[in-house]
Symmetry: C2
């Protein structure tokens, strides 16, 4: 079966995408892809998402430099999610300047705590 | 900030959830939670999803026995995804009897290949 036949696009024509560091296994971020961005990702070997807020192709790292080099792409059993194993350029996936977007840990009462440090100042990352 | 204030529920009142093996780092599955299932997960320490197909609470493992014990819960920067680090009972997250739902690997042409073995026969898992 081909990738395109396996994907079940949602009502917005998107599929969920999880980016995971190909070496450490750390989950870096979750975003969305449309058919065009998925095809570009496979073809170019660099991750391209679909930005729902901007309604535009989002070449990851286009403004921050923090590109994601695709090492492996997997599809889940029901075809509504892809897992991207990536090499994260600059070691920063999050727009806050942290390695991963999942930097807030929930305590037993549901209270959130920021547990990961900012590696690079976002102002510097995106140009002030 | 509290978990409930951090989550941005989508138009169906759901948030994406990624389950990751807390020890190996393997991404096991992606599913959805509503407010009730998220609260139950935090309170009980066992993962409860919202089944979109059944439109009902989905206590993971309720029929297969493959429960997920919650070890850690994180929220991403924009609050539309939670990362669950879990201990996967039985070592099987997928309804196909495989460890992970992401058992299909895309080749360079987009051709998919099943790369992970069935550990337990689904017929046996769910009772015939």
């Amino acid at each position: 079966m081909n990738l395109n036949d396996a994907i079940k696009w949602n009502e917005q024509g998107l599929v969920a995408a999880i980016a995971q560091d190909w070496q450490s296994g750390e989950v870096l971020m979750q975003a969305w892809m449309n058919a065009e961005s998925l095809a570009m990702t496979v073809r170019e070997g660099k991750v391209v998402y679909w930005s729902r807020s901007r309604q535009a192709l989002w070449r990851k790292g286009e403004s921050s430099g923090n590109e994601q080099q695709l090492k492996e792409l997997r599809v889940d059993c029901d075809g509504d999610c892809v897992l991207l194993k990536v090499e994260q350029r600059g070691g920063i996936a999050c727009h806050t300047g942290r390695r991963s977007c999942f930097y807030r840990l929930a305590g037993e009462s549901g209270e959130l705590q920021v547990v990961d440090a900012v590696i690079r100042d976002p102002g510097e990352m995106y140009g002030k």
